[in-house]
Structure formats: C-alpha cells, structure tokens
C-alpha cells in the first residue's frame, strides 16, 4: 500500500513537515558533533605535520613533546644529533600561554629554531626568522602585520597556519626558540624536547624517543573523555531522532486504525500495510537527513568550536536515517498488526 502511505504523507503534510524539521535539526547536530570530534583529530594531525619532525626526543618521564614541561639536559641535543639515522635535530619547546586582552586567549606557544626542525610550515606569509616575529594559527583571528602581545614582548605576525590548534580549538602560535626561552625560562637555553628528522635508532641517556603516532595518541588522550562524551551525545541524538519520527508515525498509525481495518477487510495483506508505514518512516528520516546535512553545512562554520564534518559522516547519515526510520516505525507497525478488520464495521 505504497500509494496510501505516500498519500497519507501528503494528507498530513504539516505534521510530517514538523517532524522532518525537528529530525533534521537533530541530524544536523549529530553531524556537527561528528565534525567536532573529527576536528580534534585533524588539528592534532595538522599541528604535528606543520612541525615537519619525524620523531621527538623528550624527557624520560614526559608523555609527549606538546604536553611536557620537563626540560632536557643540555647534553641530550648533541647525543640526539649523533644517533644513527638522524639527519637533523633541533631543540623544541611547546608550552601553554595566555595572550592578554579584554578576552584573554589561551594558546599553545611553540618555539623552534628558525629554519630548523620544528619550524612551522605556514600557509600564508612565512615562518618566524628572528626574535620579535610570530606565526599564528588562523583561529587566533590575527592577520599578517598585526601584533601580538605575549608577556613583555610585542611580536609581529609574519605568517598564518590554517586551522592550527590543539585541545579542541585552542590556537597554536609559533615563535623563535629564543623568544620562547625568553618568555618561559628567563632566557636560559632550555628546551623540553628535540625535534628529529630522519629515522633515529638507539637511545639517549635521560631521554626517550617518541614517534608521530605516539605523539598523536598522547595529544588525543587528553581529549579522550571529551570525544567519548561527544560520541555518546551523538548516539543520544540519533535516538531522539528515532523518537521524533517514531512518535509521528505512531500517531499517524493511531489515526489510521480504521483505514488499516478497511484495508484488511478488503483483502490487503498485513505485510503491505507494514511496508507502507515503514516507507513513511524512512521517507521522513531520509528527507530529514538531507535537510539536516544542509543545515549542518550552515551551522558548522558558525559553531564556537571547530567542526570539520568528515565526508564519511554525510555518507553514513542516510544509512543512520534508514535505521532510525526502521526503528521508529516499530511502534506503528505493532499497532497496525493488531488492528482487527472487524473494526471496519464500526459506525461513524
């Protein structure tokens, strides 16, 4: 009874439209959350890639080059450069900092030797070459030529890096190692890690080597509970979508009890009726998914946190919509099954 299902959608179009819009909003939030979760991973990948390092040497007790405040002994740099497989090694510092202002901004301050390993690959402008210069992640909202006040230093923006940040959208700023040491260690030539290029083998006393994969894992670990929460909320939103579609389909089924009885009494098989209801639910869900996807594209850029919705999420959404529609129609299906054709004999 596909035609009856489609005609019923037209007949009760306002109600279905409300359900579609509600579900679309929920689906769009699901997509934005998926984008949020994906952006956590993407920003880590970008930050690591920006430095151009192949591995890092960090203090033995530290967890990663971007999370460590433990300084390495001075002799480790020379030892790192002597390791087999190492083609280049430079000191590196990554540490949290705050840019003062009406609305102070927390950033990850990254210091590298200009032109050395760890020096950022910028998307616009150039990397800092000398003290007093800074390259910033685009989310900081600064353009080339602007100035940034950090501690007692006024730094001039010479380059920007698209989407560079950590910890869920906190922007990175790239300075010369000398400026970072000045701001952090009172000018002492200290560093928290060594950025290595090549394929290092062997050990360094007082330090350990970490791969890019380990570095990524370390950075994502700090966002673990946040990502789990987002994924959990995503599942909850899918259930909310199922509830919205389910309630409207069930309500429709309740109002169509007499119709179902007439269909059965006139020889329509129950499977045909159930198919019609399921088709209704799936159509509502799929249209909601389409509108939700468009809505997500509008919402994602204005979302306070970076939300980079992966293409796969758009591809999976229709599948989720069909599953949601299928689940949502269960209550209505159950009602339709139990309708007795004898009900058709009732009066008006």
């Amino acid at each position: 009874m596909l035609v009856a299902a489609l005609r019923d959608l037209q007949w009760r179009r306002r109600r279905f439209l409300i359900a579609v819009l509600g579900t679309a909003l929920v689906f769009s939030m699901t997509l934005v959350l998926a984008g949020l979760s994906a952006s956590f991973v993407n920003e880590v990948d970008r930050t690591i890639k920006t430095t151009g390092a192949d591995e890092w040497a960090i203090a033995t007790g530290a967890t990663g080059p971007f999370n460590s405040s433990a300084v390495l002994p001075a002799g480790t740099l020379a030892a790192a450069r002597r390791l087999p497989g190492v083609t280049a090694a430079d000191p590196f510092v990554a540490i949290g900092a705050t840019i003062p202002g009406d609305t102070p901004k927390h950033v990850t301050m990254i210091g590298a030797v200009p032109g050395g390993v760890g020096s950022p690959k910028v998307d616009d402008g150039r990397a800092p070459r000398q003290p007093g210069e800074i390259a910033v992640g685009s989310r900081l909202g600064k353009d080339i030529g602007d100035t940034v006040q950090m501690g007692d230093k006024t730094l001039r923006v010479v380059g920007t890096v698209d989407g560079s940040g950590l910890y869920g959208g906190m922007p990175n700023v790239f300075l010369t190692l000398q400026d970072v040491q000045g701001l952090t260690f009172g000018g002492a030539p200290l560093f928290t890690s060594i950025a290595l290029r090549g394929n290092p083998r062997g050990n360094i006393d007082g330090a350990r080597l970490v791969t890019l994969t380990q570095t990524k894992k370390d950075l994502l670990q700090s966002l673990g509970s946040g990502r789990q929460t987002i994924n959990f909320v995503g599942v909850l939103l899918a259930l909310v979508a199922a509830c919205i579609v389910g309630s409207v389909i069930y309500l429709s089924a309740l109002e169509r009890v007499r119709d179902f009885a007439v269909f059965k009494a006139t020889g329509t098989g129950t499977p045909a009726l159930l198919g019609g209801l399921a088709v209704q639910a799936v159509i509502v869900s799929l249209v909601a998914a389409l509108i939700g996807a468009l809505l997500a594209l509008v919402l994602a850029p204005i979302f306070p946190m970076p939300a980079e919705i992966p293409t796969v999420a758009f591809l999976v959404l229709p599948v989720v919509a069909v599953i949601v529609g299928g689940l949502a129609s269960l209550a209505g299906l159950r009602r339709a099954i139990t309708v007795s054709p004898a009900l058709a004999f009732g009066g008006a």
Binding site: M1, V3, R7, D8, P341, F345
Partner: protein, 336 residues
C-alpha cells in the same frame, strides 16, 4: 451457481466477564441472485453476522459456506484471498480512506490483488462511472456528499466483481434522496450469481428483499395476550440468558434465582428474588435478549404480563422509576 448456507451458527464473546451470544443457532439458506435483508434493532447481531460472512470474525460454532467454499474452515492467507476475491463489503460509515481520491479508493482492492496499473485504473473508472460518479474521480471523500461517498464505497466493494456483496446499514448516514439512489443500486447488484446481504434496522427496505432474516423474534400477539400464570418446580428454568421473550414476570410465590453465565461456562448468582418482585422487564421493553437466566429456587408461581399490560399495571410513574434505576444493581438483577 454459488448459494450462501449458514448452519446452526453461534457467536459468543465475553462482555465484562459474562458470556454474550448475539447469534445463537442461526440457520439461513440464500440462493444466487438474491437480495437478503438481515433485519433487527441495534445490538441484535446483524453486524456480527456480516463479519462472519465476510471472513472477518470466526464464529464460536456452526458453519458458513458460499458455493464450494467453507468460509468457517478458512485460515490465514486463505481468508485474505476469500476477502479479496469473493466478498465485497460496504461499510456503514463508508470508511473511505480520506487521503485517497475516489479513484484510488476504488483501486484499493485491485492493488491488493496486484491488478496491473492500466487495468486497475480502467476498472476503477468503469465502476465509478457505473455508480454515477464520472465527474468525481479525483475528488477526495471530504469533497463528496454522503450519498456519493457511499457510491464510492459500493464501487470499491465491486472492484473485483465479488459474488457476495455485504452491506452494513448502507443507508444509515444518508438523506432520503441518497437512500433512494443507494437502494436502487443495491437492488440492481443482486442479480446473476451475486448474493447481496444487507443488514438494516430500517423496515422500509423490506420491499427490496428477496429474503428477510429477522434476527429478533417478532411478538406481534404479545401486546394483546392475557396474563400467563406459570407454575415452576424447584430448579426449573423460566427463561434462558440470551433468549428473546415477550413477557415480564411477577413472582407470586416462592423464590426465583437470577443467574448470569460467565465466559468459562460457570454461573454467577446475581440475585434471589422474593415473592412480590417483578423481573425480566428490560428485554421485552427494549427488544433485547434476556441478560440472565431465571430459575426457580423453590417451587414458585409467576405471572407473565405483556409489555402493554405491564405498563398499565405499574403506571407512568412506575415506568419512570424502572427506567431511571435500570443501571442499578436490583434492576440489573431483574434479568432483562
């Protein structure tokens, strides 16, 4: 040539835990081409009988056959096939699907029977033209008058040219002009091999019928009957639950038990009446079956009065009191 045969049909269901038998031992034979009227007031089992004939309700006992098909022996998909190809049903409240056009409503059984689109459309159009709705094909039920809706319902019932057409109070919601149109149409349809069964409480339809099945016994003589004195031995039954009766009884001496049968077949004692009480009044007054069984607990003498005599005996005030207390326990115990 398929004839309709109903043999010793019993339909029993539970109502508030009590056994109710709207149809009890009905037997009817209908020849092909006949228009059969099921006549009786509301609640007498007309619709129940139609449901059984339509393969929608399974009777408790008895047999229904149409031609070679034993309807009461069908199950599952066989029943669906029977409903689809053998029976057409015209419902009391039209029961058209509001979201579908007249044409699409008539197409419903054709779709169920998987008739190809072109044939389906042609057949539905042909039927709507036949019932005089050529210019209403694309109208939804809400845009049609009651008579037009009923004609669409008849067209739908005829979609697969069923040899058995059932109509449940087909004129109940129609004005007199529409009634005339529908009656003429139904009369025309009862021809050839087709049997048309119509349930109604409207005696004006009697001239249409080839056969009339009265589901409530007529007690024409009861109005003029003399009071009837009945002597009962202990344990003797005066009347049975579900039976129809014309007399209202006054207990002159002895005791009468009012019993109601439960679904499991056991009996529930509703009241034990002392001498001086009347009982069994609701059924004869309203043309309904007795709602309980009356049985003598001891040797008893009762006098049975016709409804008219009973009215005269208790007077207008007494009737008012009786009706206003009809739902109270003592009146309920009076066994209708």
């Amino acid at each position: 040539m398929p004839s309709l045969e109903i043999s010793d049909l019993v339909v029993e269901y539970s109502s508030g835990g009590y056994a109710v038998r709207p149809i009890d031992g009905l037997s009817v034979h209908c020849d092909p081409g006949e228009l059969v009227l099921l006549l009786g007031p509301s609640g007498c089992g007309k619709t129940t009988l139609l449901s059984c004939l339509g393969g929608i309700l399974t009777p408790t006992k008895g047999r229904i056959s149409f031609g070679d098909v034993t309807v009461t022996g069908l199950e599952g998909s066989q029943l669906t096939e029977y409903r689809r190809h053998t029976v057409g049903i015209v419902f009391q409240a039209f029961n058209l699907v509001p979201s579908l056009t007249a044409l699409e409503n008539v197409e419903v059984p054709l779709r169920a029977a998987k008739v190809p689109r072109a044939q389906r459309r042609a057949r539905a159009t042909e039927l709507l033209v036949q019932v005089g709705l050529k210019d209403r094909l694309q109208h939804r039920p809400g845009d049609l008058s009651g008579g037009q809706q009923q004609r669409v319902a008849i067209a739908r019932a005829l979609a697969l040219d069923p040899p058995l057409l059932l109509a449940d109070e087909p004129t109940a919601h129609l004005d007199y002009i529409a009634v005339e149109e529908i009656l003429r149409l139904l009369r025309e349809l009862a021809s050839g091999e087709r049997v048309v069964v119509i349930s109604t409480h409207d005696q004006r339809m009697l001239p249409l019928a080839d056969r009339v099945v009265e589901l409530v016994p007529q007690f024409g003589k009861a109005e003029a009957a003399e009071p009837e004195v009945v002597h009962l031995a202990a344990g003797e039954e005066l009347f049975a639950q579900g039976s129809f009766g014309e007399l209202i009884y006054m207990l002159e001496s002895g005791e009468i038990e009012i019993l109601r049968q439960l679904v499991d077949g056991s009996w529930e004692l509703r009241a034990t009446l002392p001498a001086g009480r009347y009982f069994g009044e609701i059924g004869p007054l309203f043309g309904m079956p007795r709602s309980a069984t009356a049985r003598a607990k001891t040797a008893a003498v009762v006098t049975g009065y016709s409804v008219r005599d009973f009215r005269q005996r208790i007077g207008p005030q007494g009737m008012g009191d009786l009706l206003s207390h009809a739902g109270d326990a003592p009146a309920e115990a009076s066994a209708g």
